[in-house]
């Protein structure tokens, strides 16, 4: 009976959302020109008059060559990155805070824990291969967040990959225990650094999270102003944070 009602309600919900679909653009027909993202793509937000834009006068974005040139308001080739870390950097600060909050939460909820025993020896191959793989994995993670403004990826996946390396360590080595002080300090300092970037922006450009570094050539490694720096802090922070979370859940309460 319970299932029947559940199916009924779930079906009703699906039907309702299906009805709602009629109100949004069909799949694949999204008109970027109507949306703010057109100007994120064209990197010409500063040259648009917002009052006119909101009143329905959709100015056509310029279509000059972006890649490999300099002087744009935002310097990263990956537009998603430029939105995440520049145009909507505040969201990303929030996002970092979410992870931080959940790390703090996990710590508080699982407070006072010690390491858990699987009761089995990790096999030899795993241990050896971990030793070889670990530097590579960490390097890969770092690569991902350093090149976040050029290629897909960024701080979050990069940090996660670093955390994955830590998890691997846990799995392979019975005795391994993350140095919480180091990870916490890294986490805290990197988080503070992000806010401090924002505050420097406030001091330098009059706006919180203002991009206070020159943008450089779109497409090159040292470009996009603070974006790579922010992504690096995010990457390190997420890495240490998620490692911490994994470590916390991994360990067991005393007694």
């Amino acid at each position: 009976m319970r299932r029947f009602y559940a199916i009924l309600v779930a079906a009703g919900l699906v039907y309702m959302l299906f009805m709602f679909l009629g109100t949004i653009v069909p799949y694949g027909k999204a008109d970027v020109a109507d949306r703010v993202s057109a100007h994120f793509l064209a990197k010409d937000v500063n040259s648009i008059s917002p009052t006119k834009w909101v009143e329905g006068d959709k100015q056509v974005p310029h279509s000059e060559r972006v890649y490999g040139r300099k002087g744009f308001e935002d310097g990263s080739a990956n537009v998603v990155t430029s939105i995440v870390v520049n145009y909507r950097s505040f969201d990303t600060l929030g996002e970092v805070t979410v992870l931080f909050a959940s790390a703090v939460g996990v710590g508080l909820i699982l407070g006072g824990t010690r390491r858990m025993k699987y009761g089995r020896k990790p096999n030899f191959i795993l241990r050896v291969s971990t030793g070889i793989l670990l530097p590579l994995i960490i390097l890969f993670g770092i690569y991902i967040f350093v090149h976040g403004h050029l290629t897909p990826g960024g701080g979050f996946p990069g940090g996660t990959i670093i955390a994955a390396a830590v998890l691997l360590l846990y799995l392979s080595n019975e005795e391994f225990s993350l140095n919480m002080i180091v990870s916490k300090s890294l986490e805290g300092s990197m988080g503070s650094l992000y806010v401090i970037f924002g505050l420097i922006g406030l001091a330098a450009g009059g706006a919180f999270l203002f991009n206070f570094l020159p943008n450089g050539v779109v497409g090159s490694l040292f470009s996009a102003g603070v974006v790579p720096l922010v992504y690096m802090t995010i990457g390190l922070k997420v890495g240490s944070e998620l490692s911490g979370v994994v470590a916390e859940i991994h360990e067991e309460r005393e007694g």
Binding site: T23, V36, V98, I109, G206
Partner: protein
């Protein structure tokens, strides 16, 4: 300046995770800083925005600082400040509270739909953390699940708004022409998404467990966070959607009032009883907001402020009692000051004269009559009647029943705060302008969509 309200607690939270011992003083510091920042920019009386990364709206994210968000932020930070004065309540939750504070401030100040979603999620996660105190895990988990669902629905609503208008900026969304059917989708989803934090029936199942589970959660979630959530209800349904979807809110809110009071009546746990009462009061506020006029909204927030102050006292005292005594009969004979403040706060809740609740309740009823709404006052008076029942029952129980031998030390700081706040309630009765002026300004700001749009979108470069 305004971004500091979010940046400072956030920064201090990041710092304090490195030095755990500093968390409590830093929390206090953050609260003091925020209060200072707010007091320095007393009622802007215009719509100021602070653009993030200097990307002007509607492209970037902007914080909106007008009378409404100022007042909301003031109330929110005020309670955080009060909590920060009580270190034994904060314990090891300093970092979480700082994050909650940053998130609540962000939620109140932001002018961007998606950004508000992010802050709502931070609020949910930190609130769950706070709620899990004193091993209240299952209830916290329930809250998490409900919060997760609500978050998803809120996100969906945001996306619908984005596809309909091409922007996430609240001011832009409010001025864009949205087709009727699209508007229905958006407001329905928002009503449900906000309903969880705004404690609307039947999305409020978490309230009793979370508020009743420990002594810190109700004190901060029942005051600051619920104020922030209800502020967002006013912002979205008053400013952004010009009252469409108000009918849904109105109906749900009326049911909420009755359900909340009825559930409170049978409750044997002191904290939970008043948790339900907080549900009912949220219902009153939402129903009032759904009326849509600036006066109605102003009164709604006036009522909410009174309720929040009263609830702070009640939950503070109740939390102390519940976790220090096994048998609550006649405990106030040992804690006269706590008892007096508790009684005053509960009487204010009911709306007895001499206390602030009277001012707001009667004003609300009067306003409703002048709008020719005869149902809501009747519901409200019926709810008040039930409220009288359990408020008197609890007061009589706590004051007059035979006491036991248990004894706990008087909490000096909490007692002083409770007494000051309950005297504040009396002061508000005598001089309602203390809260009413701000609340009315808030109502005006929320109802004045034009001003909001103008303020947000015509400013090319925002100030600090």
């Amino acid at each position: 300046m305004i971004s500091l309200l979010i940046a400072i607690p956030l920064l201090l939270a990041f710092v304090s995770v490195m030095w755990k011992r500093l968390a409590k003083p830093l929390f206090f510091l953050a609260a003091v800083t925020n209060m200072t920042v707010l007091l320095a920019s007393w009622f802007p009386n215009s719509v100021e925005i602070h653009v993030m990364g200097s990307w002007k709206p509607p492209f970037g994210i902007n914080l909106v600082f007008d009378n409404a968000s100022f007042y909301a932020a003031l109330v929110v930070n005020f309670f955080f400040f009060l909590v920060s004065l009580m270190p034994n309540l904060v314990e090891s939750y300093g970092v979480s509270l700082m994050l909650l504070m940053a998130a609540a401030n962000g939620f109140v100040l932001t002018g961007d739909l998606f950004n508000s979603f992010v802050f709502m999620e931070i609020m949910t996660i930190t609130a769950v953390t706070v709620a899990s105190r004193r091993e209240n895990f299952y209830n916290a988990f329930k809250y998490l699940i409900l919060g997760g669902i609500a978050g998803s629905i809120y996100l969906l609503a945001t996306i619908f708004a984005y596809t309909a208008t091409g922007s996430l900026n609240m001011a832009h969304v409010s001025m864009a022409t949205i087709s009727a059917s699209s508007l229905v989708a958006i407001t329905t989803l928002y009503a449900i998404g906000l309903g969880v934090e705004a404690k609307l029936f039947p999305l409020n199942g978490w309230v009793s467990g979370v508020y009743g589970g420990n002594d810190l959660a109700p004190v901060i979630l029942g005051t600051s966070v619920s104020f922030a959530a209800l502020y967002m209800v006013g912002r979205l349904f008053g400013t952004v959607f010009h009252g469409s979807g108000a009918g849904v809110l109105y109906t749900l809110a009326l049911i909420t009032i009755i359900i909340g009071e009825v559930a409170a009546l049978r409750q044997q746990n002191l904290l939970k009883a008043f948790a339900y009462s907080s549900v009912a009061q949220a219902g009153v506020v939402v129903a009032m907001i759904s009326k849509g006029t600036s006066r109605a909204m102003g009164l709604a927030y006036f009522h909410l402020t009174n309720d929040a102050v009263a609830k702070f006292v009640i939950f503070l005292v109740a939390g102390f009692l519940v976790y220090n005594y096994k048998n609550l009969n006649g405990v106030f004979k040992k804690h006269k000051v706590l008892g007096a403040s508790f009684s005053m706060a509960t009487f204010s809740l009911v709306g007895f004269p001499l206390f602030a609740g009277f001012q707001s309740k009667l004003r609300i009823i009067m306003e409703l009559f002048s709008m020719k709404d005869y149902l809501f006052p009747a519901v409200m008076l019926l709810a008040t009647l039930i409220e009288v029942g359990y408020v008197v029952r609890w007061n009589v129980k706590l004051w007059f029943e035979e006491e036991t031998d248990e004894k706990a030390d008087n909490p000096i700081v909490a007692g002083t705060l409770a007494l000051i706040l309950s005297l504040l309630l009396v002061a508000v009765f005598i001089k309602p302008e203390i809260f009413l002026g701000g609340a009315m300004k808030m109502g005006n700001a929320l109802a004045d969509t034009k001003d909001y749009i103008h303020g947000v979108l015509s400013v090319v470069k925002g100030g600090m």
